[in-house]
Amino acid sequence: MERIELDYPAKKKVSNGAHIGVVGSGDLEVLLEPTDGETAHVSIRTSVDGFGATWKAVLDRFFAKYEGAVRIQINDAGATPGGVQLRLEQAAEVSEQ
């Protein structure tokens, strides 16, 4: 079990939270909540150790476009980078509805 914490600058206020996904084998759960301030914080818990660099790459890519001031929690059970990307985008979309 590995915990990874990441921070990104945030410019936009977000009004709604979002919850996406299931901690199924090869899947993940994303909880997105609005916060105050100018930072977005990501907490990752994953049962597959040793992929810190991959997680950072995926989150860097997501936050290159996403500017929301949010706290994101990820509970992961072995999703692919593509799967993570998809769930993050779904969460962002739902929170903007």
């Binding site: 079990m1 759960e29 909880l31 509970n75």
Partner: protein, 291 residues
């Protein structure tokens, strides 16, 4: 019970099985009346999984929603089959037992409140063993109390099915609703093969598994009250009808003399084709009403 669907029915079907637990629960309520209780943002997760290198889920794989079904108060408790096989841990089991107890309390205050339990589960979560078992016992106890007031409806749609200790809980319910894809049985095929050998049960023989545990067989042998298509409106209708029907005149799990005599009449010297049981156990000779 419906006949074989026509092609156009099949294409326009909205699959219930493809929904996750949360979506399934919402689908059963009168539109706009449901709200989730103790959802993921309350963050009450299993205290036991992370220390065993299993990633927890924030709702612990159990979704509780309150709302109205057919205009009547109802609670839906849905197990997420994709999370740890829908297994019962301390928190998910505790949520289910507590929701059933709270529904009973509402009934006692004069608000008729039914419960629908969506069971996609292999039973006890091994990583929580004795606390999972304790929770299941408490769920059973609360079903026995609630069913006296209002229907406790078990819905098993697939793909996980309802196995282990929770199949016993299904046996206590007022009504059991299944699809052809779903299964209901105490011991899964792999467990039987492991304990009693492949001749006793070849767990790779899918036809055999569904012939014994499948929804069609259970319905045809009087062990399920309704067999529904994997179609959201049909399933919601079936559930609504049972909520409005109220408690059954008699419970399957209370029909001890009937089942004792049925068991006594079986020829145990051989294995049976499960279909043989359909003629022996159809509901014609029991006091159950046919759906």
């Amino acid at each position: 019970m419906s006949n074989l669907p026509s092609i156009s029915n099949f294409i326009s079907r909205q699959s219930f099985i493809e929904l996750d637990a949360r979506e399934r629960a919402i689908a059963l309520f009168d539109e706009g009346t449901s709200r989730e209780l103790v959802g993921p943002f309350d963050r009450i997760e299993s205290p036991w999984l992370a220390m065993q290198d299993v990633t927890p889920q924030e709702d612990d794989g159990c979704v509780v929603m309150k709302g109205k079904i057919g205009g009547q108060a109802a609670v839906v408790i849905a197990l997420e089959g994709a999370f740890q096989g829908g297994s019962l841990g301390e928190v998910s089991g505790g949520k289910m037992a507590a929701a059933l107890t709270l529904a009973s309390a509402d009934n006692e205050k004069g608000v008729s409140t039914s419960a629908v339990v969506l069971l996609e589960t292999g039973g006890v979560r091994l990583q929580e063993a004795n606390l999972g078992e304790a929770a299941i016992a408490e769920i059973m106890a609360s079903i026995l109390v609630l069913r006296r007031h209002a229907p406790v409806i078990c819905l098993t749609a697939g793909t996980v099915g309802c196995f282990g200790g929770m199949s016993l809980a299904a046996g206590l319910c007022s009504y059991v609703v299944m699809t052809r894809e779903s299964r209901l049985g105490m011991n899964g095929p792999e467990v039987i093969e492991q304990e009693s050998g492949v001749d006793e049960f070849d767990s790779k023989d899918h036809a055999l598994i569904w012939a014994i545990d499948g929804g069609e067989q259970r319905y045809a042998t009087g062990l399920a009250d309704a067999l529904v298509e994997d179609d959201i409106p049909q399933i919601a209708d079936a559930i609504r009808n049972l909520v409005l029907k109220g408690p059954p005149p008699v419970y399957r799990s209370s029909q001890v003399e009937l089942y004792r005599s049925r068991i006594a009449a079986l020829d145990t010297s051989r294995q049976w084709d499960p279909k043989e049981l359909r003629a022996l156990w159809s509901t014609k000779d029991s006091t159950e009403e046919k759906q």
